[in-house]
Structures are given as C-alpha cells and as structure tokens.
Amino acid sequence: MAMLEVNDIHTYYGNIHALQGVSLEVEEGEIVTLIGANGAGKTTTLRTISKLLTPRQGNILFEGEDIAQYAPHEMVFKGVAMVPEGRGVFARLTVAENLDMGAFSRDDTKGIKQDLERVFTLFPRLKERRSQVAGTLSGGEQQMLATGRALMAHPRLMLMDEPSMGLAPILVEDTFKTIKAINEEGTTILLVEQNATMAFSVADRGYVLQTGEIVLDDTAENLKANEMVQKAYLGIE
C-alpha cells in the first residue's frame, strides 16, 4: 500500500477545470517529483492533497485512509506538512515564532525541542536570526524558514511547492541537498518543481503534468532520458 494515493481527482476553480483526473502514488521513504509548466496544475494538486481545495471527483488516501473527512488544519495531525508556494512565511512574526507555529499541532515539549535542534543544525542561519522578524530575511533564508517550519510538525509526508523558485543557483543546489538530507532522515517527500534538472537529481520517481493531466510517469532516470521531457523541461534539443 502506498503512503499517498491520489485517485483520479478533478479540481475546479469556479468553472475552470484545473485538474482533469490526476492520479499519483507516493511510497513511504521516496522522493517523488511532479514537474510541469506554469499553469499545468502542480500547485493545485498539492493544495488539493493538503485539503485547501476540495476535489469534485476522485479521492485521496493517506496511509490507506480517505482524507475527504478532514479539514485543512487536521492534515498536519495526520502527518502531512507543506512548504507552500512562495514560501509563505509569516512576515511579521519572528523566526522563532514561525517555527513555533510549525509545531502548533504538537504538545510534546521534548519532541518539539529535539526538532528545533534538528532545524537549527540543518539551518544554522536560522539560529542566528531566531529573534529577527521573518519579513526581513533574504529569499534563501525564507526558504530555509519555510522548510524548517514544516519540519517542526515532524511530518511523515512533506509536500514542497517549488522550493527553488526565485533563488540564486548556488542556493538552489543547497536547497536540493537539504531536501535529500531530510529524506534520508526518513521523511517522504512530494516535490513540485519547474526546475526539472534539479528535481530529477534528487527524486526516485517523477510525474509530468500537462494542463491538468498526468502525461508521463516513470523513474527519475527514465524521465531524464525521455525525449519529450528533454525537449520540454530539460532544454535539450
């Protein structure tokens, strides 16, 4: 049984049929990437999985359980955390307060403390800036904060929406190294990316999304070698 099973979901924005039957699976321990152009429905897929959007058709199973019954804030309790598009840090809260909010769903003081140490080890920069207001951080630091905040929930599945967006190339590499490290410590990751090259460098498997439909799904190796993917997403003629 896969950890996350998305079965033929159709999601609408008003009358716009944004997802037209998306199905995907994520096995425990994997990094799975979902690539596609702007407007293909990548963010919509993640927002549907995290229950911010409700599909009109299809269902989503997390650890075998249909999540239709849950409100968005209950998904964290189930073990799903998200690093939202554009990072979504709370700009007027301090770094420490942002991390506190990441652990909002928990009350095991000891575990929270351990995870805070883990986040500060992963991102020493956040420790230096813990009492700084998040709005004054650089883009790279905000990405660290958004990732660290999701880790504070101690999730089993982490949804990441374009972590590389708007970052300098050197920071993009660091970001993907971190993603790999987080995965190796046991967190399953569903990664939405436009930067297919980087996404394939860390992912086990991938899905290609085009105008609301999955058009390809394979291992990262095979996708990298696929002619269509090379042309459309890797810039190889």
Binding site: S50, L52, A71, P72, H73, E74, M75, V76, F77, A81, M82, P84, G88, F90, A91, R92, L93, E97, D100, M101, G102, F104, S105, R149, A153
Partner: protein
Amino acid sequence: MLQRFQNISFLDIALWALAAIIITVVIWGTIATIIDNPYNPQFWAETIVFGISQGSLYALIAIGYTLVYGVLFMINFAHGEFFMTGIITATIFLAQPMKETGFLDNYPIISLLAIAAVSILVSMAIALLTERVAYRPLRKAPRLVPLITAIGASFFWQYFFRGLYGSEVKPFPPFEILKGKFTIAGVPILKTHAVVIVSAVIMLIGLYLFVMKTKVGKSIRAVAENKDVAALMGINVDRAITITFAMGSAMAGIAGVLYALVFRQTHFFMGFIPGIKAFTAAVLGGIGSVPGAALGGFLLGMFESIGPALFLEGLGIPAPHQLKDVIAFTMLVLVLILRPQGILGERLAEEKA
C-alpha cells in the same frame, strides 16, 4: 525625485492645503487661548485626567475593531453594540437589584467584579453569536458584503435590546467607595477616573502580552497574515477568529462597566457614539495594530477633552465644549490626509487594501 513630484495631483495639493489650514487654525487658537489665559492650572489638570480616563475607554473599545480588522479585514460596525449589550444587561439584572437590597454598598468589590463578569459574558455571547450567524457565512463574500451586514447587525442589536429592556435611560447606581477624590502631586483625581485608567491599562497590557507571547496569541497573528498557511500549520482558522471576537468583545464588556462607573447611566443607544469614536481611535493609531489602537484611544480622549478649551476658546467660538465631536472627526480627517496608515500602522499591502 522628479518622478515623485509628477505623481502629485491637484487633489493632493488641495488636501494638504486643507490640512495646513486646520493646523494653522489649531495653532492660532492655542496661542490666543494661552495669551487670554481664561483658566487656572487646576482646570487643565482636571481636564487632562478626564481626557486620559475617556481615552482609556476608547482604547479598550478600539482594541475590538483593530483585532477583528487584523484577522478579517472587516470593520465590525456592530462592535459598539457589543459594548452596550453587556453593561445594560448587568445594570438591569445585577447592579440595580444589588443596590436595592443593599448588597452593593456592603460588598462593593464583589458587586463590581460580578457586574464586570456578567457584562463581559453577555458582550462575548452576543459577539460570538453575531460572528457565527452573520459574519462566518459571508467569509468568502466580497468585502462590502460583511461591512453592510455589520451595520445591519448593529441596528439589529440596538433595537433588539430596546425591545427587550425599553428605551428609557437605566441609571447605574453609584458606588459609595468610589465617591470623592484624592490628590497626587497637587492634582485632584476622581476615584472613579483612577479606577477607569488603572483597569484599562492593566487590561490593555494583559491583552498585548496575550497576543504577543501565548501560543494562541501567536496563532491569531499567523491567521491575520495568511489564513491558508495558518491552516497548513494545523491552526483551526475558524477557532482563531472566534477567539479574536471573544477577546475584542471582552474588552468592550469591561469598557461598558467603566463607562457606567463614570457616566452612571446605560441605555440601548449608548454604544453608537463610543463605537464610532473608538473606530476613529483605531484608524488614528493604525487599524490592525494593538498598540496603535491603545495609543489612538488615549490621544483621541485627550484631544477631545483639552481641545475645546485649548483650540476653540481662543478663537472666540461660543460653547466650545459642545464641539468635541468636531475635534475628534477633524483629527480623523487630518490623519487620513497626512498618514493614511495611521500613527503606528504599516502601509497596507495591495491584497489587504
């Protein structure tokens, strides 16, 4: 630099001219009053104390406007009614019977605490009911819709309570222990005013610490910034909004008790003017900001109290004290021209404007 000047329109110039005229008149009036010197220092001292006391009432009510605006970007025009419902109920069912039986004079502190508790609970209950029934279903509607609903809710509660308790003024019994005054550094202070100011300051500091330091307070601030992301953190957004209304209306309930101590009367229409004034105070301080609401409240109270004697007397205006509302709303206009975001407010991002 040139770019900056090109963006200035005739309207801006006209508004600045208006602001300049108002400020000139104020300064002129002040100088004239000072030269004339019609009042003794004791009068000024008392006026200032009254201003702070009045200001602390505005500050307490303004907190409710600012908190709700912070999380929902909605002006809750029914907030003045939350202020009225608590104290009018506590007056009829608690203060007046307790006065008749003599309990109020024998156990004044217990009585006052009981009155405060009932006032807070009723204000809260009305606020939560209004939020649940009238505002929550409209959460996703265009922003004008909840605004109009709030005005409707305001009228609804006014006339509902008029129907319930009648339209006559209900006297709030005086407390024997709060009669008289004491003197600090030569300034006589009415005991009632001291109670009002001290309780308001304690409540404001308490609320500020709650919002800044507690987990629930932080979650309210997170919801104010981004509801979707707050939900992703596991924060129940509806619950955070409910708590926000509860906090704001609790402050209004306290303000009702303090108002009754000073003015010794309650009636169904008593929430309207203080509500509008407190809204002005919230805008003055920067709506959305808790310290801003407190500062705006105190400033407004002070200006209203000192203003008539200081600015208007010297201009030879007859009966200047009846013009304190003019001063309050002129201040609002000035702030909106010169600093639209309010004294402590941040410039609103596009999405919030």
